[in-house]
């Protein structure tokens, strides 16, 4: 029986790699640098060990990801999570959607927003500000992107300024990247007991 999860959930699944992860005891100095392995931090997930096959890219992306999702000023963290979730819905990345829906529920103290997104997908009906951000993220995540002036006007009408809109672009786009790693290189699976 398959352990692979196909439905969106806020319960963060396990992740089963489709390629063999780098073995920590065989990692090159470049890989160890990208993995940020230190004597006090030797626990590394299979996902990161898979990405360590391309150490230069992992090393470049990790600080960029943190700056995009957790950088100061601009769009609040819950808004950035909406950008991440919109992309993850379009790309059907169950794992990314779970992690970031859980964070959104914690940050906003309201699981209702992601309940509705998981129920209705891109057609979700949300409050005005969340709706504008979610619709923008979903349309930006299509290939080619379908976002246009109307979606930007909706963000402005909801009160977002230029820096906040740029942050939403970055968070959504970053998950266009992350989903293409997480969803492509492994499967979300029921966590081991």
């Amino acid at each position: 029986m398959s352990r692979i999860i196909h439905k969106f959930t806020r319960v963060v699944p396990g992740w089963q790699p489709r390629v063999t992860p780098v073995r920590l005891d065989e990692a090159t100095p470049e890989q160890l640098q990208a993995l940020k392995v230190t004597p006090s931090n030797t626990k590394v997930s299979d996902y990161v060990l898979v990405l360590a096959h391309d150490a230069e890219s992992l090393d470049a992306r990790s600080p960029l990801f943190n700056a995009v999702m957790y950088g100061r000023d601009g769009l609040d963290r819950a808004g950035r999570e909406i950008g991440a979730i919109g992309a993850s819905i379009v790309n059907r990345c169950i794992y990314c959607a779970a992690v970031h829906a859980q964070r959104h529920a914690q940050l906003s103290k309201d699981p209702g927003v992601t309940d509705e997104i998981f129920r209705a997908g891109p057609a979700a009906r949300l409050g005005a500000r969340d709706q504008a951000m979610f619709d923008f993220a979903v349309k930006l995540s299509q290939t080619p992107p379908e976002v246009g002036a109307d979606e930007v006007a909706a963000l402005r009408a909801a009160g977002l300024d230029d820096l906040e809109i740029a942050d939403l672009v970055l968070a959504s786009a970053m998950f266009g990247w992350a989903n293409r790693l997480m969803h492509v290189l492994g499967d979300p699976v029921r966590a081991e007991d």
């Binding site: 391309d54 990345c93 992107p145 976002v147 740029a166």
Partner: protein, 153 residues
């Protein structure tokens, strides 16, 4: 190959308050387009495929920028999404890259197994995914920021 003008890369549209992200994004681009260890994917081949992915995203300016760095006449046609590749292995690889770029939701474990069966090493599978995924990011940053008037001051 000539240096790509930075003002054409989309990251130049980021607000001044996000100049750190522009800098880190360009470093990431270097890591997937011209890495120190390119594995099975030579730098010029990567630029041709980057042009292909940008075309799939209707990012014409970005596509032209990448293709301008491909001199080899055997590689330039790969920048056209209608070109399916020069041999069976390249056709499998490009078919995979095209789907990661345009329809990642449809990728299955069998797609990775097909690459492995074609002789692509696991590290090279990861390199392909990172390249396609970075370009998906860059095309969306460029598209989204182009819609914000006055953000690039």
């Amino acid at each position: 190959m000539t240096a790509q003008p930075v003002h054409d890369d989309g990251f130049g549209l980021l607000p001044t308050a996000r100049s750190d992200i522009a800098e880190m994004s360009r470093k990431a681009r270097q890591s997937v387009l011209a890495p120190a260890q390119p594995g099975a994917w030579p730098v010029e081949w990567r630029h041709a495929v980057a042009a292909r992915i940008c075309r799939q995203h209707a990012a014409t300016g970005l596509a032209e920028g990448y293709l301008a760095q491909v001199d080899d006449p055997a590689l330039r046609p790969l920048g056209d999404p209608a070109n399916s590749g020069r041999d069976a292995v390249e056709q499998t690889v490009l078919g995979f890259v095209d789907r990661v770029a345009t329809r990642p939701r449809d990728i299955l474990a069998a797609d990775i197994a097909a690459l492995q069966a074609a002789g692509v090493a696991d590290a090279d599978v990861v390199r392909l995914c990172e390249m396609a995924a970075f370009l998906a990011y860059q095309c969306r940053v460029a598209r989204g920021l182009s819609l914000i008037k006055g953000a690039g001051a």
